[in-house]
Symmetry: C2
Subunit: 566 residues, 2 copies
């Protein structure tokens, strides 16, 4: 136990959160369903939703407070809700030197606190964020365009799950060696050699979290909590269009750290205007030893090449494919795919983009279906799912930014290929100003060079390609090649043929992408569950890291040994 553990607030936190930590540690090896954070909005009290809305409304137009964080007097604003409401939140700005200096000053106390104290403090941060899940849901909704239900789950409890998972892994990694061990080496007839050895996990330095536009909390929490729980101060640089969810996170973290007797500057916010190059500046600072990044391949590659003083964990772009060979549940397959393509307007890094369908057709429980029949039926399934505007809006959310909107416009104009399903403008009853579009389905042929140019690159957003391929084998081969060349966060397949399944599994293992097979119910290729599914593999160009495994955490600290004669 370290000195920090005797602080009364800390001692209470350790005791209070021990059962959750123990359970989380067990969950990492069991891989069954588990979460301490309920995903049903009603679990957060009768007035939870109204309270969250009120708290969010109170933030609108305000100056965000981060007491004690360095500030240069400037204010940063500019977030605009994809739902058309005015956010008007402005954030205190600080220069790089001041932020780095504050984090460095805060570093030693947290480094000395040890794994148990740090885990307890992190769990308290997560518990307080959890209690405010409705407020976070509004913040996520109005920065990312996610519909409220998704913003609540993915931006709230599911993001908290991923944060907790990182804390659990950090605790496991840092406590693999005993704090103290005796070493006795026999020396034949002479007295044995005896030593006492202490093993101390030491953090590596400052951590930088570079947030993304679409999932600021879900993609941000793994790195944030992995770094913090291993003792590294964290500078949070949010996406300029999705600052609020991470600003709230930083605010809660600072509040808990201060109460526990630590310097709140262990977690600072680097809010910036769109177009700022602060991320490039911070990424190559010698003090910065860890970087977590989610976003474009271009900047991810830049970070990997240039931030040589740091360990860089990236999640970049990819092209996700689905092989459609055969199924014993045709309706279930169509419904599952329709939902996968529609959820959050395909703006997930895990959304399937290319549906690979043999020209010879697909065997189903409803008989053989030609390529065209499958395409027509899938288009109809999507249309059916999204026929009602209110329901459509609740699934689609809103288009997050002009880049995505541009692609739906190009798809609608036939630029990517023949349309099997044209995107439709949806009017959200609740937010008439929101930009909501249904997915486009584009027909392409794997053997036509022009078509290949269209579907073999990432086309992020509500545009998917129904790709005619020679055979199931060609589909599997194309999936593998796409993963190796473009990267992929997910792969999926539908087949009742053992040989096709075996080829698909072998290809996914070799190309390094995780595979969802024959999903026809309430689990979707684009969703992963913390403590059970890994998000990404780190084994293909889409990402060099996975949430969460030992590799994601093990290098964020080092072990220093002190030994002496017993």
């Amino acid at each position: 136990m370290t000195a920090a553990a005797t602080h009364p607030v800390v001692a209470e936190l350790i005791e209070r959160h021990q059962p959750t930590l123990t359970r989380a540690v067990e969950a990492t090896t069991a891989r069954d369903y588990w979460s301490p954070y309920p995903e049903f909005p009603k679990a957060y009290g009768e007035t939870g939703q109204a309270d969250g809305q009120a708290a969010f409304d109170a933030l609108l137009g305000s100056v965000f407070t981060l007491d004690g964080q360095p500030a240069d007097g400037e204010l940063v604003s500019g977030e605009s809700s994809p739902y058309g409401i005015e956010l008007g939140v402005s954030y205190p700005h600080a220069d790089v030197e001041a932020l780095i200096g504050a984090l460095e000053l805060a570093r030693p106390g947290w480094a000395a606190a040890g794994p148990t104290v740090r885990a307890a403090v992190c769990l308290e941060i997560l518990a307080r964020i959890n209690a405010r899940s409705h407020e976070f849901a509004h913040a996520v909704m109005h920065t990312t365009g996610q519909a409220y239900g998704m913003a609540f789950q993915a931006g709230g409890p599911h993001a908290q799950d991923r944060g907790l998972e990182a804390v659990a892994y950090a605790f496991i990694e840092q406590t693999r060696l005993p704090e103290r061990a005796s070493w006795t080496k026999p020396q034949g007839k002479r007295d044995p050699l005896t030593m006492t050895k202490e093993f101390v996990p030491v953090p590596v330095g400052l951590a930088l979290l570079i947030g993304c536009n679409t999932f600021p909390t879900w993609n941000g929490y793994p790195g944030l909590f992995a770094s913090l729980a291993t003792g590294n101060p964290v500078l949070v640089k949010p996406h300029p269009r999705a600052t609020l969810p991470l600003a709230l996170t930083v605010q809660v973290a600072r509040e808990v750290l201060a109460e526990a007797g630590f310097d709140p500057n262990l977690v600072c916010l680097a809010a910036e205007h769109e177009g700022s190059t602060i991320a490039q500046t911070l990424a190559v600072r010698p003090e910065v030893k860890l970087i977590d990044y989610t976003g474009s391949t271009q900047f991810g590659d830049w970070l990997e090449a240039n931030a040589q003083q740091a360990l860089v964990y990236t999640e970049k772009a990819g092209v996700n494919s689905v092989v459609i060979d055969s199924t014993d549940n045709y309706r279930g397959m169509l419904a599952n795919l329709a939902f996968s393509l529609s959820l959050y307007s395909g703006q997930m890094c895990t959304t399937p983009q290319n549906l690979l369908i043999p020209r010879t057709g697909v065997r189903t429980d409803e008989g053989g279906k030609s390529y065209d029949e499958v395409v027509t039926d899938l288009a109809a399934a999507i249309e059916g799912l999204l026929s009602d505007d209110a329901r459509a809006a609740a699934i689609l959310g809103a288009v997050v930014n002009p880049g995505v909107l541009g692609r739906t416009v190009r798809a609608a104009g036939g630029e990517y290929g023949e349309l099997a399903l044209a995107p439709r403008v949806v009017t959200s009853p609740e937010f008439p100003a929101a930009t909501v579009r249904t997915p486009a389905l584009v027909k392409v042929d794997a053997d036509k060079p022009d078509d290949r140019a269209a579907f073999l690159g990432e086309c992020f957003g509500p545009v998917s390609f129904v790709v005619a391929v020679e055979s199931a084998e060609a589909a599997v081969e194309l999936l593998g090649r796409t993963v190796r060349e473009q990267g992929a966060m997910t792969a999926a397949g539908y087949t009742v043929d053992d040989a096709v399944e075996a080829a698909l599994v072998a290809t996914c293992l070799d190309a390094g992408v995780s595979l969802s097979l024959n999903l026809t119910g309430g689990v979707y290729a684009n969703q992963t569950a913390a403590f059970s599914d890994l998000h990404g593999t780190g084994a293909n160009p889409a990402a060099n890291a996975a949430y969460c495994d030992g590799a994601f955490v093990a290098s964020r600290f080092r072990t220093v040994e002190v030994r002496r004669h017993s």
Copy 2:
């Protein structure tokens, strides 16, 4: 269990080595003394030493055989024993394309074998190497200059320990997730969602081991076995002056792999003449995803900067310091330091270089000792330890290469500063042609700029500096600064003062170097024991990796998940 596990040879290996693997896995968390490989030469049978000598003699002047490895007909030779005997071994040469191609071809079968099979095969390789420890000892002795006793232990059982440790960590890491798990998520009144999930560890690609001149096996085995046990084919590029020990290792590995039904080209040798740039060529090949390197800072830095497609694990140069503040066992301290500085002529990356002694003197159980008295007494302790040529040769070994010899010549000439102890030419009774030198002790002052230039850089070999410093506090501060700026593999201290000890521990934790405190017996600052001590920390410029921890192994494979409805 994978298909490979049913191969009769493999099945037998799994059964035979299971107890060792289980015990090794336990040892990684207990950190007590443990080894399955006896370190006493006599444990290897009555005729062990003679058999080893005969096997080594049979290699002299021979063409080394690596059946089935690509070869272009050229032969590589050029090793010369620091003991003056002619080695004359020549090794088959192959071009880079052929080697990479052979490793790639071998890759899939080993990738599919799974962690259990790979661990068993690796343990068999180690067991066969262990049985030939005397032969390896000769090979290590006559390439590195280590004395036979040290070449036997450090090049044999202790190196095997480090290899086994890596295999144990690899097994632990790859089996943290279950092979298969059920996932059941309650859905209120509806049926729960249920999934079956498989987790498959997949290797990342080809591994390159770049060996060093002084400890080809001890520094080579951790990376070799960590990569191989996680499923990656390994190309072994030995130091041109220390090829034989790794060539024998490759030969044994290939033999075991072939017997177990695998392609022996999973482990290949890239023997090269001195001056070859093959390491640079190999290091940036796109197929190479893992690099383990021990050697100069210059090339280590080059690898870290240029081999961007690979994970690079380096152990480079450093400057190790000892703070001498006070002791309750003056004679024990002197004897311990004398041995530390003399062992293998200071040619260990862990040998103390700078002994930091307050100008105000050192409190001891024999009363206060002035700086000059400590220096004189230490010089006398070294002279006493090495007064007999035979005994001296058995401790010092031989000077490994002309670079090291040059430094002892410069030290003898007073180039580094005033000599407190001049290096002495020792004639080895057994090998009169061997180049053997006792350590030089150079007096310097921490506050004189010219002196600082001499001792603040690495001076690899039998040259140590007795550095006069203002106070114990100044010594601790200088140790910390040296670690941060130059890197260090070890730190040591002598003090009976609680405040000095606390400052020393705090400084070592912050600078990221492991500390040996008050060593006065048979444990030396330059020695670490596998399964108990970590070698290096990865937290300072001397190395980015440690033998062995989770971080050394966790990123050598990735996990791919396959999930489906139950």
